[in-house]
Amino acid sequence: MSYKFTKDHEWVLLEGDVATIGISDYAQGQLGDVVYVEVPEVGKEISKADELAVVESVKAASEVYSPVSGEIVAVNSELEGEPTMVNEDAMDKGWFAKIKITDASELDDLMDEEAYKAFIEGLE
C-alpha cells in the first residue's frame, strides 16, 4: 500500500478496491490558503478524468480530476467546515473522496513517490 501520484498532483491510495483521493502536499503549497472544497455526492458514478472536486483559494478555483473510474463511496465532509485541513495535512486528513474502483489497471500509469518527487523537481 503506497501513494501513487498523477501529473495533475492528485494522490491515490488504494486499499482493497477502494481508492482514497487527495491533492499532494506540493499542490496545496502552490495553491496557497484553501478556503473551500467542493466535494462530490456519495453514490455518484465517476469516470477517469471527470471533475471530482473543486479546491478554492481566495483568487483561484482549481478542478481536481478523478484519476480512476468507479463509484464514490465516501467524501470528506469535514472539509466543508475546515478547509485548512488541505493545507495542514494534505496527504492524510485532507483527503477528498473514496472511490470504489472498477479498473485497477488505471493506476498503472501513475507515478510512485520517488517518480513524483523527481517530477516536481523538474517543474521548479
Binding site: 473551500y36 467542493e38 478554492e56 483559494s57 481566495v58 483568487k59 478555483a61
Partner: protein
Amino acid sequence: MRYMPHTALEREEMLAEIGVGSIDDLFADIPEEARLGDLLDLPLHESEMNVEKNFRTLAAKNLSPYSAPCFLGAGAYQHHVPSVADHVIQRSEFLTSYTPYQPEISQGTLQALFEFQTQVALITGMEVANASMYDGATSCAEAVLMACRVTRRKKAVISGNLHPHYRDVTRTTLQFTEFETEDLSPMLEGDEDFDTRITPDVACVVVQTPDFFGRLKDYTALAEKCHEAGALLVVVVNEVVSLGAVKSPGEMGADIVAGEGQSIGVPLSYGGPYVGLLATRQKYVRQMPGRLCGQTVDQNGQRGFVLTLSTREQHIRREKATSNICTNAGLCSLAFTIHMSLLGETGFAKLAALNHSQAVTLAEMLEKIDGISIVNDSFFNEFTLRLPANAAMIVEKLASKGILAGVPVSRLMPDNPDMANLLLVAATETCSDSDMNAFVTALAEVL
C-alpha cells in the same frame, strides 16, 4: 478640446520620445484598407454651454412627471429622493472610483456595500444579500438560474401575475440553457394552482408580491409546498417600499428574494439605471451570482471589508461562473443605502404607511365614479382599475390634459382582450391632494 491636456508641441515631443515620426505610426497595425482617412460623419466638438442647450431642448419635448399629476407604476415608482442621497453619490470619491478590487483604498465603497447588503437582507427578511444586480427583472432571471443550480433541477414555474418584463427577461435568459420555464397565465380572480405543477423536476416557483396587479399575497403555504417537494420559492418584490408595511418574503419562507430597489434613492430616469436586489439564505451563498462584500480585518487588526467568495465569479471561474455579471449597479446601490439610512426603521415604516394611505384615499375617490371598479381585494400603493372603456385610450386622453393617469395593462399584456379596460394606478407620497382631485375629475370627464 477641454478634456485633453496635451498641446500640439507636447504630442510632437512625446512621439519623439517613443521614437516614431507621427501619430499614424502608432496605428500601423490596423489593416491599411480599413484605416479611416477622414473624420467620421458626425458634428464637430461643442462647448459645454451648447451641449447643455441641446439637452434642455430635448428635455423640453418631454412631460416631466414632476410637473404633472402622475400615477404611473408597474415596476417603477415615483418617490422623493432626499437631496443628501443625490449629493453624496456625486462626491468624486464615490462617483469616479472603480470597482473595489483594491480594498485598502476602497473602504468607502466596501463599507457602504456591506451596509447595503445588510439593509436588503433585513427588509426582505433574508439572511444574506449580494452587492446588487442590474435591475429587478435581471435579478429575477438570476434567481431562477441560481435555484436550478441549488436544486440541480431544470424547470421553473412562473406565476402569471409576475410583471411581464420579469417573465420575459427570465424566459429570454434561460432560452439557450438546459433550463426551462413554465409560464402560467395571468389570473384576475382566485389563486393560481401551483400544487399540481410542483413536480419532482421543478427547481423553483416564482411569484410576486405585491403582484403585477398590485395585490398583496401571503405565500407561506406555497413555500411549504415547495419545500416538501424539494423546490425553492422565489419571491419577487418590485415595490420595495411595501416591505415597510407588510410581512416580508423571508417570514413567508422564501428561499430567494429578487427585487427592484429603484423606489429607494434612485430616480425614475426613464427606466434605468436601477438596482436589482438579490437575497437568500446563508447556505446558498456559494451559488449566488454577483459581487459579495464581506467583513474581515487588516494587518493591524482593524475591521475592514473586502469583496469575497470571488471564485464564483466570471473573472476567476470563467465558463463555470455562477453568472457572467461583472459591472453591477454600484452607485444606485449607494443611493439606496443612503436613502434607507435616512429613513431608518421609523421613516421606512412611515413612508410605507403614507404610501398606503395615499393609495387607499385615491381608491376610495375613484370607486365613487360610476362604471369604475377596483379589481384588487388588497393592495399597497398600486391597484388595478376596471374602466368602462379602453384603458390605453383613456390614458392618451388624460395625457393630453396633462395628467399621467397610470399604466394601461394592455401595454404590457397586449394580446389579452380581458386586459384592455384595465388600468394600473399608483399613488405614492409624491401625489398631492390636488393631483388626486385633478385625476378623478378629469377621468370622470373623459369616460
